[in-house]
Symmetry: D2
Subunit: 256 residues, 4 copies
């Protein structure tokens, strides 16, 4: 919920509003029985879009916002971290013309879903030499675009190692730990651009998602791993922790 | 052949060089038995790309340059004129995330190829109410991007009629006739951007084409309508005029 | 007054809203004794800005929007038409790093003010060979940026004649007459970008104007040619027509 | 000296060439009696530019490249580190429409020159509360653009502390030490863009510098603190170390 009054809100950057309030953090969240949100935050689902996608449009919007935060067509893309936003980003990047997509993820369940989302490579950084593979596949240049969606220090380290000179690193994954970088080698000599990605341009991404989904450009089903009734809530949470589940649809009245 | 010395050449815009010489216009062209061109104009075909595509990469590069001359992902695109560059643009636009693609062309043969290239709509401006159809399909807004590749006054007229407010019209089709526009209504109130598109950023489009072709993002086969031996040259030219043929591959030693 | 509901309004382009209502055209204007406008259209003048500037900030905003609609630093700029917005554009272009500024205007009073605004050249297209002068001053290239603010067919013609290859023509001046262009020569071969400029990004230009004015970057006094009491309204209008007056401040209770 | 063959060189990014050779590092440098450089690296000084500026155009080009690496007009700018490139950046930023310029530098000699270059604030981070002052002067937002030209860990720390949400940090200052950042707080939540700046687009900056200097937009004299004969070379080096000297012109045959 953006304030609507600050410079950011007034110049098209409400997603990084000075006074943003996050539902579930600064205000009651959607695990409550009822939730009050501003009218402007409501978006009517286009009837052509599968209804079950309604519950995953917010993170899909983050993926759209991240992938389209710079040039992407005809480029190689690496995604570090395959939580739901990372997985959605595979689909979005593919839909808008990325050529080779590297998904980098330690959890085997998530790597499997990444493969189902049609990543060209699903690499395990604990076993694969990620840098060597990316370099080999990109004529020694590195990836044009890296989307960092893990928030883990070693994933962030990898992001800077595999991006090519002049490339883009978009940072979305949060971490509470300070990260140490060699600015000269990692950023300056390579002449890269690093973007902090927070939230999403709400309306722009609503329009973009709607357009891509209606055109049949995005198959998101592999990310929806579970459909459960409310009574199985605790079990679902357990599967989220192990990575077996990615997005879980919870049906208040059972999945019939 | 760019001069390499002018401001344009030196600032990454050699494709609109002040002193450009066009092979076939300002210098002997490739219908000669031998042709001498600067080393820098030669590009080695990646072995993973079908060899017969080598002869159509130059116009494909024009299509890539036109489509990517502005934002295109998640946008609706109309292409007026379905000669080879228009047809290639359908494939490129689709590959980089255009959602609905309108191909607008009077010649029925070309419309058929446009359909084979997977345009969503292949409209005949002599019969269809193009503006009404585009408006209906775009919630009354108009097309986000219009690529004008016919060079015919009525096609140019259509381009400005169907582009949405804030949209882009990229002009590539050449015409020797002056065109009359109502600048206030057609350009200013709509706040559109009109681009003159000439040639292509040579290396950038080589890289982009190579990446898209190697990733299997572009199926160009429907545009190659004929494969003939040199002896059938005149017949091929005839089929070009009627629009039955689009790109004709001429094999000096026969088609085996 | 933008609708706030259309795609344009929701994606930062409210200045070209599908359903815009212009005060003075679609709703009662500010010549009425009282005028009702939406709260969001009100902007509080920073106390550091001279109060008399309050009445000219709207056209200044148009000038800021036009000049900054593309790259401008270290570029040569030609402005065709020296009404108030054209004159303000001279000041803005100079403030943001334009190098040589050509003001092109038939009315001698306006040319004089253009000179007072520190245009490098104030050319009379009825007497000067504008194209020859621009070419001579730009090493034969033409102007990097042309801001068309006259809306007269011959000024629009000039705009396309003097812009350099790869340059920008921003069209703001309105004309009810259709204009005839040779698209191939005037737009395509030159690879230029033509922008329709309508209104202004309201908040963004408020912020930009405030910043530039507070920093003392803009001296707009030469444009305010007259300060009159309400009783001299008719006389003021007369002086506007001849071009002797540019912006007239009307004081309801006399100028004492 | 760029290789001319890599993807970067071929797509307008020769300044971050994969195989760049730096004169003075990878090849004999200009302290030698004779130096051989490629013809394409030579630029003929426009006769309208003061001859003594010839020797400082390379770092001026770095400043132009850094300042113009993103939007700058009507923006507040902070520069951390006032070596020659930092000092030139003050002049360039002012010339292209920056509104308030903060120069941040521990050395008092350099702060004095920064003041002579017309920085609005010349702050000593060892004494002033830089963050508090920047926040106070920017309505609590922070600086729109920060150019980091010190390469010192605490200056880099300051850069991230004072940039506003949605702002830009351009990193040019080199450091051999790893720097630790809290990516979530410093980059992601603020939604900033961080750029690695290396070298300069050679021709583009030649053109930009020439245009700005010929238009009298840049007064660089305060940076040239010393003019010495070759015999005083050692003394000059001493003054560089203390910061008393910034750019020293060395005349091979004495300064007569």
């Amino acid at each position: 919920m953006a304030c609507g009054k600050c410079l950011l809100c007034r110049t098209g950057e409400a997603h990084i509003c000075q006074n943003v309030k996050i539902i579930g953090v600064d205000a009651d969240g959607a695990f409550a029985e009822y939730v009050v949100i501003p009218e402007s935050n409501i978006w009517k689902l286009d009837p052509a879009i599968p209804q079950e996608y309604a519950s995953i449009l917010d993170p899909l919007g983050n993926a759209v916002h991240s992938v389209l935060a710079g040039e992407i067509a005809a480029k190689t893309v690496a995604i570090t971290g395959c939580g739901p936003i990372g997985l959605f980003s595979i689909a979005v990047a593919r839909a808008v013309g990325a050529t080779t997509i590297f998904a980098i993820e330690v959890n085997e369940h998530r790597r499997r879903i990444a493969r189902d989302m049609k990543a060209d490579f699903a690499l395990d950084p604990s076993k694969n030499d990620v840098r060597a593979i990316v370099m080999e596949q990109t004529d020694g240049l590195g990836a044009d675009v890296v989307l960092e969606m893990a928030g883990h220090p070693s994933a962030i380290r990898t992001a800077f190692d595999i991006v090519r000179r002049g490339g883009r690193v978009s940072l979305l994954g949060l971490t509470s730990k300070p990260i140490s970088l060699n600015f000269s080698e990692d950023i300056i000599f390579k002449g890269i651009t690093v973007q902090g990605i927070s939230g999403r341009r709400m309306y722009q991404t609503w329009y973009q998602m709607t357009a891509l989904l209606k055109a049949g450009k995005l198959d998101l089903h592999p990310v929806i791993t579970d459909r459960i009734g409310m009574r199985d809530f605790a079990k679902g949470m357990e599967r989220l922790k192990t990575g077996e589940a990615s997005k879980i649809l919870v049906y208040p009245n059972g999945t019939q």
